[in-house]
Amino acid sequence: MTELDITILFAGVIVGAAPIVLAALGETITEKAGLINLSLDGSILLSAMAAFAVAFETHSVLAGFIAGALVGALMALTVAVFSIYLGQNQVAVGFVLTLMGRDLAYFIGNPYSRIQGPQVKPLTIPLLDKIPFVGDVFFHHNVPVYFSLLLILLCWWYVYHTPYGLKMRSVGEHPRASYARGISPQKLQLFYAICGGLLVGLAGATFSLATKPGWGRPQGAEGTGWIALALVIFGGWNPVRAAIGAYLFSFLQVLGIYLQGWLPSVPAQVFQVAPFPLMIFTLLIMSIAQNESVQIWAENKAHVRAVLNMFSSMAPSALGKPYRPD
């Protein structure tokens, strides 16, 4: 464990990041269309529980994934309907669902805790896995991991290179203008909330069927939803950057395991919370990077500007402000 093997380290990062990537991409899509789904942490747990329970009862991993995705979509649908059609505060609804999703998962999942259940089988991709290093890092995993990798590209292409993606962004940036162009902001936001929710549900299913197989209280996925929410901001509402953030986070987690081996005197729990101050710090830097006086100060300093550009990003202008037809 204390021996640092770069290949195993990176492979671990790719595997550990898979559910986080899925959740962060799902939330990015939802927020790109202008809606905040704060319920991620509860959604992930509830869908993880549902996926495990269904897979256990039906002996089918696929059914588990479908159940997880549906639960995630249902949670997102609740936030969307409450916010878009009932005019309620998105943050409030999302937060209530966060707590409730977790408690529901613990309550309904109680009979399924700490039992052996089905899990995703590893699947090596032929030919590609023979490539030295790259093959070991990327192509010795299972379907959810490959899916998470593929989805990054897919999301990026969809958001920035298709007319649908353009419509989605327009709704998030300026719903009134989209409405004038004949797009229904309410319907599109509802649609993308559900799409994002499906991915969040898949993230939960990936946890309980692949990354940390099984169910229990605690499952081990607690807190991931909040990380994913922060990663969306970290990624500046860009799916590729959000995914990079997920890999960085996973890297920190895996590194924590090694550090524990090297520094046995420091309690393990300290390493587990380490990413959170880092998240605050990143958000702080991002906010500073957008500060006008800082930008003026950095105008003639090429290196500083490059760093600032890395961190500066704008939220969709209509994020969190549901469109009300007049």
């Binding site: 059609y85 009932l86 943050v91 209530v96 309550f107 109680n110 807190g223 959170f276």
Partner: protein, 367 residues
């Protein structure tokens, strides 16, 4: 609309809410394969069945009410103080530090008083960090607070497993129990601590007075309702936000302190017991009304304590209380929204202006 009509209408909505929650919870229970009525009966008996059980309810009512009081300040100015959980924890840590210093002291009551003040300071300082991150650093208070919650949890774990570990074995059960002299006094016959109850009463009255009759309350409300107008009017949103955070953190810190000196008599990782998060729901469900807060908190405390019986009696998980609490808030939000929508369809504005749930515009530009 006259008062009578308003009341009948209002009670109808409450009835619909309760019916919806009842239906939903029963459905969940049936899915879990449990008899719903038996579960409700055990929750009722487990919380109000005997004085001992009711004293446990009051023990969890105290931190819940304290936290909810503090949250009224931050909600009033439009802040989502999710970091309250961490503020409870740091209050408990500061408090424990004072109690540890006073282990050999001859005047335990002074030490306990000092520990409560330390808790207040600790919670307020932790809230101050989130407040400054929000106002000076432009970091959204939800993420700052949440991150700080995890950090606070890390601090407690580090203390419990490191510098403050029990001689011999360090474990999740916490630090060594303090000598009874350093326990918050408790009237044996009713199993309640009068100082703690007094603190809650003071907190309730103080919150009501400050929010209703002082300039502070007015400023918080003005900024919460319209930050840019308040700014033009010469109010300082940033300063008032920090002030609201200090109030919330202070109350939360006292709650954490009372958990240490009055309930557990030691510091343990689960010291905050989710009371901070739950208090957010209490504040929302009481519609940010200080006079509803203690009653909603009491009901939530009953659910919490009552559901502890479920694992033993029916082999169910005790998290049912959380399901009911969440469903209550969600149903309230939903019915409020439905009513507003129907009113809009009818082409008129809702007539009861007192509701703030959802009425607030969200401020997310600063993320």
């Amino acid at each position: 609309m006259n008062r009578f009509e308003y009341l009948t209408r209002h009670s109808r909505h409450v009835l619909v809410t309760v019916a919806a929650v009842f239906f939903f919870t029963s459905l969940v229970l049936i899915i879990a394969g449990a008899p719903p009525l038996a579960a409700y009966y055990h929750i009722f008996k487990g919380s109000l069945g005997s004085w001992i059980k009711f004293s446990h309810v009051i023990k969890s009512w105290i931190p819940l009410t304290l936290c909810a009081c503090g949250l009224l300040f931050t909600f009033r100015i439009g802040l989502w103080n999710i970091g309250i959980e961490g503020q409870v924890m740091i209050g408990a840590v500061f408090s424990t530090a004072i109690l540890r210093l006073g282990l050999e002291s001859q005047m335990p009551s002074i030490i306990i008083l000092g520990s409560i003040i330390a808790g207040l300071v600790g919670g307020a300082l932790w809230a101050l960090i989130a407040g400054f991150l929000k106002t000076k650093g432009g970091v959204n208070e939800i993420f700052a607070g949440l991150g700080l919650n995890f950090v606070a949890q890390g601090v407690i774990l580090w203390l419990v497993f490191g510098p403050w570990k029990r001689p011999g074995v360090a474990s999740m059960s916490g630090t060594e129990v303090f000598p009874p002299a350093l326990w918050l006094s408790q009237v044996a016959s009713i199993r309640l601590s009068l100082p703690a109850l007094a603190i809650v009463c003071i907190a309730l009255i103080l919150t009501a007075l400050l929010l209703r009759y002082t300039k502070i309350g007015l400023h918080l409300k003005a900024i919460g309702n319209n930050p840019s107008a308040a700014y033009l009017f010469g109010l300082k949103p940033a300063r008032n936000m920090v002030l609201a955070m200090i109030f919330a953190g202070g109350f939360a810190g006292v709650a954490g302190s009372l958990q240490v000196s009055g309930v557990y008599h030691r510091l343990l990782p689960a010291i905050s017991s989710n009371y901070g998060y739950l208090a957010l729901l209490v504040a929302m469900l009481s519609n940010y009304n200080i006079w509803l807060v203690p009653w909603v908190a009491l009901f939530f405390a009953c659910l919490n304590v009552g559901s502890i019986q479920l694992p033993m009696a029916l082999q169910l998980d005790s998290s049912l209380s959380g399901v009911i609490q969440g469903a209550l808030v969600l149903a309230t939000l939903g019915i409020h929204g439905w009513r507003r929508r129907r009113a809009e369809v009818r082409g008129q504005k809702t007539e009861d202006g007192g509701h703030m749930i959802g009425g607030r515009e969200q401020k997310t530009e600063d993320r």
